[in-house]
Symmetry: C2
Subunit: 209 residues, 2 copies
DNA sequence: CGCTAATCTAGAACAAGTTTCAGACCCGTT
DNA sequence: AACGGGTCTGAAACTTGTTCTAGATTAGCG
């Protein structure tokens, strides 16, 4: 019963210059449109138009709207990850550093709430066909959190905590985006879940699986 | 910066017998279809057909597919809530009771994974237009968890913990449904987040809002 | 019973994601 | 430079959620 790591599959089929440029143009157009109206404003015909590419080509690069938006999220997360390496969180204990990191990410999303809407909705709406891509995003998020905790070799238990933090992070975002939770509450949720970090190992008596 | 409780709005405009029956037929048809193919298999024309109702009527009762599926989830949760009142979780400490409760709900969902898929995807995909309905589901979930904790008058802090548990619950479901997390991992996540219950109040030094 | 407003039905129409196809284009090979 | 396979384009077609319309039914009321 292992980790179900996603098979990386065909290892990125090597794009020519022009193809790489096309891919970037598409992502850029997607971000542009998402930046206004959010998920619904990203219309495939308009993306293709704005990117100067035929509809069929768009679908060759991103097999669905959700794929496109998830790729966009991956892009943003990579940027964030890089920024965090440059200026890592400074707090003294791990839980504060993680909370600080997530709040930094949250503030970044607040700057473009529509874009956040598009990316997060795509991420949670994705079905099994997008699993590899969603998994890449998840691994990136995990990496960011583990960085903040300054952990190289997490234990099983620490990984479970990280997963729970990730769950909270994502779901709190959804709740915020749909207007059912305030910014302050999101902050509170993040701080609350971060209490799980460096908590004494709870002994459990349940029998193994 | 309060709770943002959703205005209940027009308090359920009183349906005639036949209308109530229609509503149930629609929900039943929706559940039926969702039970096979999940979210995508719930096609509005087919729902209308199976419920013996015109498409326009379906849309009068449920203004969108997401509304319909969220209503379904509310329905199921009410059933679960009732069942839990009949046979409440028995464990000695609050965190075990909550974990037991959520695992019970999880097992119920496992029995009809496609239905679960449809309901959960709808719930997280819902936009602001569905907020009141999603909020009803959220309140129900909160009530179920508070029941398991046997709390009548939760403190602010306890409410934050409950929110985090809810976040974890929902997001773990998503991850399971998309095949990226195993049943065992979901169980582990639930047990992990439940450790937050009856944790000594962490002192925090951040200034108020 | 007969009236009136609201509701329901059947079906067309519209919108946006996705698929398909014929032909033009680009790239590495000979 | 000509060739051949994969890639791109433009446009139409298809699918499914959603909206609209005209006429039939129903519910409540005098």
């Amino acid at each position: 019963m292992g980790e179900m790591a996603a098979d990386p599959g065909p290892p990125a089929p090597v794009l020519t210059q022009r193809q790489e440029a096309r891919r970037r143009r598409i992502l850029h157009a997607g971000a542009q449109l998402a930046g206004r109206g959010g998920f619904e404003a990203v219309q495939m015909r308009e993306v293709a138009d704005a990117a100067g590419v035929a509809l069929g080509t768009l679908y060759r690069y991103f097999p669905s709207k959700v794929h496109l938006l998830v790729a966009l999220m991956e892009d943003q997360l990579q940027r964030l990850h890089a920024a965090l390496r440059r200026r890592p969180p400074s707090a003294g204990c791990a839980d504060r550093r993680v909370a600080e990191t997530l709040m930094r990410a949250f503030r970044a999303l607040q700057r473009e709430p529509h874009l956040a809407d598009a990316m997060v909705r795509a991420l949670t709406f994705a079905d099994r066909g997008v699993s590899p891509e969603v998994d890449a995003v998840s691994r990136l998020t995990t990496a960011i959190i583990l960085d903040a905790m300054r952990l190289e070799e997490p234990t099983r238990d620490q990984l479970a905590v990280v997963r729970v933090i990730e769950h909270t992070w994502l779901s709190a975002l959804i709740t915020w985006l749909s207007g059912r939770e305030s910014i302050a509450q999101v902050r509170r949720d993040i701080e609350t879940v971060c209490r799980l970090i460096d908590l004494p190992e709870a002994d459990r008596d349940g029998p193994g699986p």
